[in-house]
């Protein structure tokens, strides 16, 4: 049998495999260099960056829920300039493919951050975070309006030649229409899903468990909804899709790819098992061998919706 080909392409971005560390779940990547060879990952999506440094919300910032967790970090970060001077060179040294997750409180800030990163050495793509549910200003206000999505993406498109990958929110009636708006605006691909706006209350204290009151739900709990959204978007757009939401095992990676994802991101699972990456790669190769799939990319969108599965096959 031929060697297994796990490579995938997102526009001009070529990755050796579809496994990307999800933004905000992997720090700036370097935090994990001792436990995982960063070059082994398809890519690293770094923590969301604004122009300036941000303190984020006060604790409690996370709380566990059934098969998931809420987070309201509030995008604590070092800002784009310190990122370029302190982190980017080291990421390049480690030969990590770096997707920078960018944020803005205004359209201008998005554009400015994108411009600055385009001039920097070692940025492989921009993931445009218009879907963070945890901050009032910016982000989600663009991500929840079709016009906002279109205008942010097309404005960034004008100032960069890097692949532009808007990250969509699941907190809308039709993510597919937002995928179309992104495609129309010239996006090279889309990422989905960001977290689901949610809330947990401590009934003994009768107070929200998070200082921000609400937070974003991630983890396996959301996977079936995320898979459905990726599948809907696959019908709606031609551009590549980076799917995510509750991936814990190789089987879950394959589920997203069969639904239409060209690549995937893994977030919460990395908290549970920082050594997950090689396990996922082994699992993908095992599946490819068992099913005689030589090009993993051939599975993208390959779910057969004409004939449902038999439960007791």
């Amino acid at each position: 049998m031929q060697p297994l080909d796990l490579s995938v392409t997102i526009g001009s971005l070529e990755l050796p495999n579809p496994l990307i560390a999800a933004s905000g779940c992997f720090g700036y990547g370097l935090e994990y260099e001792e436990v995982v060879d960063l070059a082994l990952l398809g890519a690293v999506a770094t923590k969301g960056l604004f122009l300036a440094e941000r303190q984020g919300h006060k604790p409690e910032r996370i709380v566990e829920t059934p098969s998931g967790m809420l987070n309201a970090i509030g995008l604590q970060g070092i800002g784009v300039h310190r990122f370029i001077s302190e982190k980017l060179p080291l990421l390049r040294q480690r030969r990590a493919r770096t997707i920078v997750n960018i944020c803005g409180t205004t359209l201008d800030e998005y554009v400015e951050v994108a411009r600055i990163l385009s001039d920097a050495e070692g940025v492989d793509a921009l993931e445009v975070n218009i879907s963070c549910p945890n901050i009032k200003e910016g982000g989600i206000q663009f991500g929840c309006s079709l016009d906002g999505t279109f205008s942010v993406v097309s404005a960034i498109r004008k100032v960069t030649t890097l692949p532009v990958i808007p990250k969509l929110t699941p907190n809308v009636t039709s993510p597919a229409s937002f995928a179309r708006a992104a495609e129309d605006a010239g996006a090279d691909g889309i990422s989905l899903v960001n977290t689901f706006l949610a809330m947990a209350i401590d009934v003994e204290q009768r107070r929200p468990k998070l200082s921000n009151i609400v937070g974003g739900l991630s983890g396996p709990a959301i996977r079936p909804i995320a898979v459905r959204m990726v599948w809907e978007c696959r019908q709606a757009v031609k551009i590549p899709i980076i799917g995510m939401g509750g991936i814990m095992e190789a089987r879950d990676v394959l589920e997203f790819m069969l639904a239409g994802a060209n690549a995937v991101q893994v977030g919460t699972a990395n908290f549970v098992d920082p050594f997950i990456w090689t396990k996922l790669l082994d699992g993908l190769e095992d599946y490819m061998t068992r099913h005689q799939v030589t090009r993993l990319a051939d599975l993208v969108g390959a779910v057969d919706t004409q004939t449902p599965a038999r439960a007791h096959a």
Partner: protein
Amino acid sequence: MPPVDVRAAVLSNVRLSRDYNVLTIAAPEVGALTEPGQFVMLKTSTSSDPMLRRPFSVFEVLRDDLGTVRAISILNKRAGRTTGLLYDLDAGDTVSCLGPLGLPFNPPAAGEAWMVAGGVGLAPFATLAEALVALEVPTTLFYGARTGDELYYLEFFDRLGVRLVLCTEDGSIGVPGRVTLPLEASLQALGGPNEVTLYACGPEPMLAAVARLSAAYGQPNEVSMERTMGCGLGGCYSCVVPVKHADGHTRYVRSCIGGPVFDGATVVWD
């Protein structure tokens, strides 16, 4: 040294009370790397409910007669799901143990070492005491609990030659009230600064009080902060502590990699 993840067998589980137990697990790879004050992230099953690991100080590093590390133990107090499951484990069960993680305590630059423990905050001090005694640092443990029967491992520290100052809120053993009372009295009895280094672990109000007293009496101190932790490796930004930086700015520091041990003088207490 990078942390390791070990699927460790439970060797024993000694239930000390209705809430406290000492869980011994076969994680020698972790124990061999552990320095006093470091922690591990534990998970009891592969289920996604509960999903996240939970942080625990390494209580004891257990060696055989030849001095080879065989296991570590955890001093566990029931607080919810995972601590409840850890209380119920039996020999033969397994837990996933990731560690060692975080920054350890630093030995005193000079003088004595005073360890201040509140309740389950005793956990990091067994290994610290052993290290200090090995360095021949005169060591005292100020140890407070709600009641006398929640004071554990007294002989252990006694055998090491650690001076014990005990404290119970119900007055059943030692000084009645909070552990910071005898601590302040002892600080008053001191002559000048930097004669003792204070190490504290326990409820945050106790840590704040220790930091305040240390400053008031000019003694250095290190506190082990407890924060909700999602990952233990710097990935999630859940575990932050507000820290005064050299540039005068206060920034949130991730306590899993910038702690859990902090210089109490730099922590911004609320």
